[in-house]
Structure formats: C-alpha cells, structure tokens
C-alpha cells in the first residue's frame, strides 16, 4: 500500500502535508530536509542515534502483558512501555534524533513548543546532553497544569517562555515557537514535538519514532502465536507515538486505531485546513477559524492531527476513535489498580478506548491488542487528584 513512504520533496501525504510557512522559513526547511536526508542515510549518524537511544534513553523498552486487566477484559493486552524511557515518554526518541541533527547542522540552540511538557523536558534533556541551549514555548494554561514539567525543564537549564495568546495551550505555543524561529533561524533549530509542522517535520518525526513500532513488531513476533496482534492502538495529540507505532505494523494485517480526546478529535470532527505549516484535518468553524481543543490531557489539547494520519484515514488503513475525559480517568485508575502502572493521561486515552471496545464487543474476545503506552503519569498526578 502506498502509505508511510517517503513523502518526496513536497512533503505530501496524499492530499495533506506540504510546507505552508512564510518565505523566511523556506530556506531553513530546505536545509533541514537536506541535512536529514543526508544524516538518515549516514550509518554513523544512525549508529550514534541508536547508541544514545540504548545507552542513554533506555531502549528497547519492554512489551509488558497487562496480566490482570487482560483477564478482566477477555483479551490479550500488551503494553509498549514508552513510559520507561528516560524522561518518561516517547518524545525522547524524536528529540534525541533532532538534537543530533541540530548539532550536525552547527546550530547553537534548540527551540521547542510543548503541551504536556514532555516534549519540552525531552528537548531540555537532549540539549543538555549535547551542550546546546534550549528555549521552550509553553501555553500559560499548560504551565499551570504541568508545573512539575516546568520545574524539570528549568533545573535542566532550559528557558521556559510562557505563551499568553489565544487559548494559552499547545496550539498557541506552536504559533509562538514558529514566530520566534523566524527571527532566530540562523543559529536556532526548531525541534517540533510531533508529526506536524512543515515538511520535512512530519516525515522526519515519523522516522525518528518508528523505533517504537519496529521494536514492538519484533517483540510481538517473538511472543505471539501468529506474530502480529489483531489491533495496534495509540493515542493521538499530533500523532507521533501513533505514527511511530503504526509504522511497524502498516504492512501487516493488524488493525490500526488512533484514539483522540473527544474535545480535540480532528480526525473525527475536523475538516481539511492549514495550520502550523501543514495541511491536514483541523477543528475549525465555518470561516476557518481554528477551534480550541479541550482535554484533560495537555498533550492532546491540539486541534489538528499529523497529515499522515489524515491520509491513513482517507486511505482506510487506520481508523480514529474518540474517548471522553471521564473514561480516560477511569482507565488510568484501572490500569494503576490492576497492573501497578501509572500511565500518562494522554496514553490513557488509548487504554480507555480498548476497555470500552473490549467490554462492548467492539474488540472480539480473545483478540490480541498491542497498545503504546506513550508516557508515564507522574506529571499528571496533581490533576488526577483534583478530579477524583
């Protein structure tokens, strides 16, 4: 199937993607694309990345059977444990890759936007590791919700810039990071945290995240009778952990399911549009004004979706589901009680859908489900407490 391939120089995934940025940024995008293409085919670069992911970030991550919950649900549920990586979410996979690229390009500083703060923490981390500076843009509302991560970034030596425009969440942080990048593109590298932004980002981030899916594919092959799970499920903010996961299973018979927050479900309620440099499905009103997303999970508070997901949806290769905040909190608590694993609110979206589908027969009894647990819930503890 013609999906999940190289999107070419125009960065198209079917009708989506592209490079909708001001002329000022075009040369930078070209430069990054060229540098990435070169690096990605350089075995030394890939060796260095693989080494850091293993020796520093803790890869491969285990594939843990959810023993007790599986029994309760009548399915076999396997969890790909991105929560066990250094800094506690899959974001580190992408960031180490991009930071190495920034270093290779001779940049002095990394810029990033962040929602839940996980991408910001990962960026601050990779910058420290490689001796680069880091500036992270974060919506004021998210700063309140994710205080722990703000403090982590600061202790790691990063500058956290509060964004006060718009809904004061991830989408506004993206705008602000982009603005800042325009004015500092000479010495700064913009490290985007999900499969969004202008080409080559959605593709490059997918490539850096495909390690999730490739590892999981191998682990499933080693452990499952038929080698491949029936379902492969991941939560979707921008969609990087999902795309990275899907990349490992796209050529199998596994059903791919992306789960969005009901209040930020661009794949379900969005229309085609252009936001943050790419064309995709976007939550917006009739006029094209972008709607604010709402979710308990700061990392899913995004009104768009990575362009490749829009394409996978159109192509029928993946389907997209939504869950609401209540289901998410219940799923988080249930996993904590049955398995002793505290998942991130974001990841708990994927879990909430699996629980609902298994309990309603949407997933047939006896099915095998591979779920990417994109991150750990420590960052969310304060918000969870409030909601109980």
């Amino acid at each position: 199937m013609d999906v999940m391939t190289d999107p070419g120089t125009t960065g198209r995934f079917g009708a989506y993607g592209g490079r909708y940025v001001p002329e000022s940024l075009i040369p930078a995008c070209h430069e990054i694309e060229a540098a990435f293409r070169e690096a990605w085919s350089d075995t030394e670069f890939r060796g260095r990345l693989t080494m850091l992911l293993s020796v520093y970030a803790g890869r491969p991550t285990p594939l843990t059977p959810a023993w007790r919950l599986s029994r309760e649900l009548g399915i076999t549920l396997l969890l790909k444990r991105e929560d066990l990586t250094h800094t506690g979410s899959h974001k580190i996979n992408n960031v180490i890759g991009q930071a190495l690229l920034a270093q290779r390009m001779g940049k002095r500083r990394i810029l990033a936007e962040t929602g839940a703060g996980q991408h910001g923490v990962a960026t601050a981390t990779a910058a420290a590791l490689l001796g680069l500076e880091a500036t992270v843009f974060m919506g004021e509302r998210d700063i309140e919700r994710q205080e722990l991560n703000v403090l982590r970034m600061e202790v790691l030596g990063a500058e956290v810039v509060p964004v006060t425009s718009g809904s004061r969440t991830l989408k506004d942080a993206c705008n602000e990071a982009m603005r800042h990048w325009v004015s500092s593109v000479d010495d700064s590298y913009y490290c985007i945290g999900s499969v969004m932004g202008p080409h080559p980002y959605p593709w490059m981030v997918r490539e850096f995240q495909r390690v999730i899916g490739e590892e999981a594919r191998e682990q499933c092959a080693a452990e499952l009778p038929y080698g491949v799970p029936d379902y492969v499920v991941a939560c979707i903010g921008g969609g990087s952990n999902a795309v990275g996961t899907f990349a490992g299973f796209v050529d199998t018979a596994a059903r791919l399911v992306g789960v969005e927050a009901e209040g930020g479900a661009a794949a379900t309620f969005g229309r085609a549009g252009v936001l943050h440099g790419f064309r995709s499905l976007v939550l917006q009103n009739d006029d094209g004004q972008v709607t604010e997303a709402h979710s308990v999970a700061a990392g899913l508070d995004y009104p768009g979706i990575g362009p490749e997901h829009a394409h996978l949806r159109d192509a029928g290769r993946a389907r997209y589901e939504t869950v609401n905040d209540d289901e998410v909190i219940r799923a988080l608590r249930r996993l904590a009680h049955t398995e002793g694993i505290l998942a991130a609110l974001e990841s708990s979206h994927a879990l909430a859908w699996v629980i609902r589908a298994a309990e309603s027969g949407g997933i047939a009894p006896g099915s095998t489900v591979m779920l990417t647990l994109s991150g750990r819930g420590d960052k969310d503890i304060a918000s969870i407490k409030e909601m109980l």
Binding site: Y20, P22, E23, I26, A28, M178, G277, V282, D287, V290
Partner: protein, 274 residues
C-alpha cells in the same frame, strides 16, 4: 478604477512617488472602514485589509491582538466582504490573510468572492512559492493580483522566481521576524531591496517594522515604497481614531515625498524629459 493593482502602483511609482500602503485589520473596530477612508485621504496608494485569523503565525503581538479583537467582535469573512463592497475609494484595496481562510472551500471560490467585493490583490504570508500554484491560477483567473513575499533569507534563485511570479508588487520583508514595530534598517533589507529591483520592474515594497516617518523614508530609499501595519494598529488599539491614524499616515506620506525628492533611484526615477 479599471487598472489592476499592479498597473495602478506602477503608474503612481513612475511619477516619482514613493508608494505607501497602510494596513488595517477588518473588524478591529466597528468603524474600521472609516480608517480605510482616512488612509486614502492621507495619501495611501493602496490599502491592505487584514482578514483576521485565529492563528496568525507570522504576526507579532500587535496584529495578533487586533485579530483577536476583531474575531471576538464576531468578524466573519462574509461580513468583511460585504463591508469592503461598500467602500468607495479611488485606490486599490488588497486582502491579507492566512492559507486556512483561503483554502476553506477552494482558492477559486475565495478569489471570486474577493473580486466580487472589489478587492484587487491578495497576500497570503503562509503560502510560499511551493504551495501557491492553484491559488495563483485562481487569482489570475479573477484578475486578482497575488502578492508574494520575499525574505532576506531567500536565495537569489528564489528571489528571481518570486519576482517573476508575484503580481501587484513584491512584498519584501525588512527582516527575519514577525510583523511588529522597531528595529534598525539592516544592511540585509537594503540588499534585498536592491536585488529585487534588479530582478523586476514590478514595484517592490518593504513591510514589517516600518514604524515612523523617518524609517519609512529610509526604507523607501531602497525600493519603491512601504507597507505600514503594526505602527498603525498599535495606535488604533491604544485608542486612536480614524482621524489620528490618518494624520499619522500623512506624516509618513510627507516624509516619503521629501525623501523621494532627494533620493537616488537610478532604475525608477522619472526620466528628465517627462
């Protein structure tokens, strides 16, 4: 007025006049069309009307605020078009907005609607050369001039293509950055102006950070004129009315006219015989 935006501006420039294009965000006040009139009365050669967008990636705080205010007041594309249609001004009006508004239905539909309300040009800062194909065709079909942006970072090859494909004028960014006031004139800006002038006979206008009459005049030295946006919107947000804004535009007009008198524009100065 039957001339296209480009014909109109070239004609004016060729009289030796430095071009002045002031900006206003549609809907930022209920009486924003008065601001357009005040600009024209103060000597604007065209007026840029911003269609506010929720996520104006290339705009600094001032225009973000103006956009937010306009949207909060319920401004819609249809409403703006209706108001623009009632404008009775003798200079071209140019729309400026982001890709997401343009591609809502289709570029053709959007361009037809603009043209239907009498707009003469369109600026879409987040649709660079690579993404502009359909839109350029649609605009051309409607006789709407699609203005492209050129940046200090653009390569010579890109500048050539931008200069070649832009219509109406070439929008030269004075700097790497968002809209907003302040900043010195950089050697960069001057060079960009010179390069573009070498590449095209179309008017080249500077935008971004054109604040105050002196700076406008200085910049105009290196091209054919300026777009003034944030400096005006700042004053408007701080409470200035159409009258004050008109005076401010007049002051820039005067500075440009004085500057133009002693400026050296080898390529574009009217020949001594005219």
């Amino acid at each position: 007025m039957n001339a296209s935006l480009e014909e109109f501006l070239i004609a004016r420039r060729d009289t030796g006049r430095s071009l002045l294009v002031p900006y206003v965000t549609a809907g930022v006040t209920p009486k924003w069309t008065e601001v357009v009139h005040a600009y024209v009365d103060a000597g604007a050669d065209a007026v840029e009307v911003g269609f506010p967008f929720s996520d104006p990636m290339l705009d600094g705080v001032t225009i973000q605020e103006a956009s937010d205010r306009a949207l909060a007041a319920g401004t819609t594309v249809r409403g703006i078009l209706d108001e623009v249609a009632t404008l009775d001004v003798d200079v071209p009006v140019v729309a400026m907005t982001y890709s997401n508004l343009v591609f809502q239905r289709s570029a053709a539909e959007f361009c037809a609607a603009l043209r239907g309300s009498g707009l003469r040009g369109l600026i879409v800062p987040d649709s660079p050369l690579e993404e502009v194909g359909d839109l350029a065709d649609a605009a051309a079909a409607e006789g709407l001039d699609l203005v492209l942006l050129a940046a200090p970072s653009s390569s010579r090859a890109r500048l050539r293509e931008i200069a070649g494909r832009s219509r109406g004028f070439v929008y030269a960014l004075t700097r790497m950055g968002t809209t907003g006031e302040g900043g010195e004139i950089s050697e960069q800006a001057a060079r960009l102006g010179r390069e573009l002038k070498e590449l095209t006979d179309r008017p080249v206008l500077f935008g971004f950070g054109v604040a105050g009459p002196e700076r406008a005049a200085e910049l105009a030295d290196h091209a054919d004129g300026v777009v003034v946006a944030s400096a005006l919107m700042r004053r408007l947000l701080d409470g200035a009315g159409a009258g004050e804004l008109g005076e401010y535009v007049s002051s820039i007009r005067r500075a440009l006219d004085q500057g133009a008198r002693w400026a050296v524009h080898p390529a574009t100065a009217p020949s001594p015989t005219t």
